[in-house]
């Protein structure tokens, strides 16, 4: 069902050039659009309902997105904090210095001079060290 609502147009003829048919033109304008069929109010109500549903959906999506970003930032902050204060991390400071240690060792005095004569008479046993040994002879 269409609704018809008469409507007076504000300042319709303002600034019109002066022409003979202006009255008829003004009447046409007012009749035409005051008498036009209008979209029923119930249709506009349904449009408003759909619009509000779209706004609610959008607000929910934005809320989820904000929570997601907040959670991501918390996790990132936690990871950074653990990196800074974690157990395997050494305190930062000056780089390791090269350590030189010197120890003075007192050595005993030199021992007695070696004997002039060898302890063992090697000449009497030279057969043991030769290329051939006499048969039947034991070392």
């Amino acid at each position: 069902m269409t609704e018809k609502t008469p409507k007076t147009l504000p300042d319709l003829t303002a600034d019109w050039p002066a022409e003979p048919g202006n009255d008829e033109l003004a009447r046409l304008g007012n009749d035409l659009f005051a008498g036009r069929a209008q979209l029923p109010q119930i249709a506009l109500d349904r449009v408003q309902v759909r619009m509000r549903q779209a706004m609610q959906r959008r607000a929910r999506v934005r809320a989820w997105r904000r929570w997601g970003i907040a959670l991501l930032l918390c996790v990132a902050a936690l990871v950074v904090a653990l990196q800074l204060i974690g157990p395997g991390r050494r305190p930062t400071g000056a780089p390791d210095a090269l350590v030189r240690e010197k120890f003075t060792v007192d050595t005993p005095p030199a021992s007695t001079a070696p004997p002039d004569k060898p302890v063992i008479d090697v000449e009497s046993y030279k057969d043991l060290f030769g290329g051939q040994t006499a048969p039947g002879k034991s070392p």
Partner: protein, 170 residues
């Protein structure tokens, strides 16, 4: 924009402009269900893109309405148009026929106007805006608007003649 400020702004636009938009779309497409669907799409775009509405809300809304109507007419070319409007049972059959004929002629006449003139018709005759408000929205002077309205009505008078309206519907 905060959610509540956003919601308030959209509701204000709906309150102020939905009737004018719905009636204009209805006048252009001639079918109340189709007009409702297109008006819904307009306001769904408003919900999605309200941040783009900077200076003149009526000019911004017009750009959306124009775009959605263009989309409708472009898609409609591949379909046969069937007039499914239901006559008002409270009116006499002869009155119904006269109303229907006038609606069809208005629809054809509006379609023949240039885009600039359609915008002025939309603002003046469907939103009931004063010349000064239209001038502010479009960057014109009130005097320019008055002269343009005069010119548009002269054109519409020609297009609404029965013979001329048949040409427009062909």
């Amino acid at each position: 924009m905060r959610d509540d400020a956003r919601r308030d702004r959209i509701e204000a636009l709906f309150r102020d402009y939905s009737r004018g938009i719905g009636n204009y779309v209805f006048a252009r497409v001639g079918d109340p269900e189709l007009a409702e669907a297109i008006t819904s799409r307009v306001f769904l775009i408003v919900v999605k893109s309200i941040e783009q509405c900077k200076a003149s809300p009526v000019a911004w809304l017009w750009s959306i309405v124009r775009s959605e109507l263009a989309r409708h007419f472009r898609d409609r070319k591949s379909h046969v148009e069937i007039d499914e409007s239901v006559p008002d049972p409270a009116t006499e059959p002869s009155e119904q026929a006269a109303q229907h004929e006038m609606a069809m002629r208005t629809k054809a006449a509006l379609a023949r106007l240039s885009e600039e003139h359609q915008k002025l018709v939309y603002m003046k005759f469907f939103h009931g805006m004063a010349n000064k408000e239209i001038a502010a929205a479009l960057g014109l002077t009130p005097s320019n608007v008055g002269v343009l309205i005069h010119r548009i009505l002269k054109q519409l008078r020609v297009y609404l003649e029965p013979a001329a309206s048949l040409e427009g519907q062909a």
